[in-house]
Symmetry: C2
Subunit: 199 residues, 2 copies
DNA sequence: TATTTTAGTTAACAGTGTTAGCAAAAATAA
DNA sequence: TTATTTTTGCTAACACTGTTAACTAAAATA
């Protein structure tokens, strides 16, 4: 009997509808103004229906957080495989990281809780681990082929990520939009980091 | 007639009471849970009294934001004057920046909107300008005495600040508390930056 | 056809920032 | 000292927020 399947499909379609409606609202009005009531309004269902699909509002935000980290990880993975030299990979990944942040500002703000109350469960998100693992492996490879193969990879990874996140955060606070000349800052910072790492 | 003065003193004392009550609430429960009603409760006045002293909640937050930047600027100023060599100043200021962030976590989170809706008027705060001016001047001095005096001071300042803010932010997301070994990361990053700047 | 399960609803609770309208107290003027 | 005006602070409400209990109507099963 396909009844159960049809029901499941229907339930899934509502779930997707919730996420799509939420995303549309975020795009137009930002995370701040997203509310359960507005989502319910948009999908033309009553409020409690949303709670049949998500435990609470935070669960919806967590969904997008995961999605964001997944997208970022994918972006970095692609960029990494496009190069062979670890130093080049780090530079290209830095560039891609910056572009991702401003091409997907809503995602980035949610992922790192910039100006919004984000989920405190972020650090447990496996998609985040996936992204950091990608950075760590590249750092390790760069260190292995450097003049100082004894360097602490975790410390260097932390520095690498922090520089990137810091550049993005400060830029987002200052203007919100990425300045074309500002991309030089990333490249300069990345060059400095890689130089210190490899030499 | 000292009546006006007495009234002014009284009004001022309520204003201070509001800020002190708010701060106490933030210390115990965080920015998220701070509300006008709780403040009113704490100062034993009705809600509208608060609106006689502050235009809205954001104005109260802005007050603390300014206070935070003022404190940070003062800290950096002290540290700077304790050294003469610009490179040493940058290192010491980096250290002090890190310490400030974790010794005054509530301030720092508000100042940079980490996990909370912060005022979007931050960039206009003169106390922020004061702090950045301090960093910029030191960067300029370091560049002037370096082997590359033609370096773009604004770019370098941006990099310097971003590294610091990035390190702090990532650390706050990851654990909230500063790891003792993590301070090595700041010092490593600062050393790398200064080396790239001076050499 | 009768019964049970499921889906979706309304209405409420407890909280938020903010403000209009009113009462009482205090300061000023007569 | 009394009357008037100003200031001060209050109650109560509005329009939101996330969340949930209790109920109805529809659909699936026996």
């Amino acid at each position: 009997m396909g009844i159960a399947e049809r029901k499941l499909r229907h339930k899934e379609s509502i779930r997707i509808g919730i996420l799509e409606a939420a995303w549309q609202l975020v795009i137009t009005d930002g995370w701040q103004s997203l509310s359960i009531r507005k989502i319910a309004d948009a999908i033309e269902y009553s409020i409690p229906v949303i709670y049949n699909h998500f435990e609470n509002k935070e669960a919806i935000l967590l969904e997008f957080t995961k999605e964001g980290f997944e997208k970022l990880a994918e972006t970095l993975r692609e960029v990494k495989t496009a190069h062979t030299d670890p130093a080049q990979q780090l530079a290209a990944m830095g560039d891609a990281y910056w572009d991702f942040a401003f091409d997907n500002k809503e995602y980035y703000q949610l992922m790192f809780g910039l100006g919004i109350p984000a989920c405190d469960t972020v650090k447990k998100v496996p998609e985040l681990q996936e992204m950091t693992a990608l950075m760590i492996s590249t750092i390790k490879e760069a260190i292995a082929g450097s003049k100082n193969p004894e360097a602490d990879y975790f410390l260097k990874f932390h520095t690498y990520w922090s520089i990137l996140h810091g550049l993005v955060s400060i830029q987002m606070i200052e203007s919100g939009k990425p300045d074309v000349t500002k991309k030089m800052i990333v490249q300069d910072a990345m060059a400095g980091f890689t130089k210190a790492l490899v030499d």
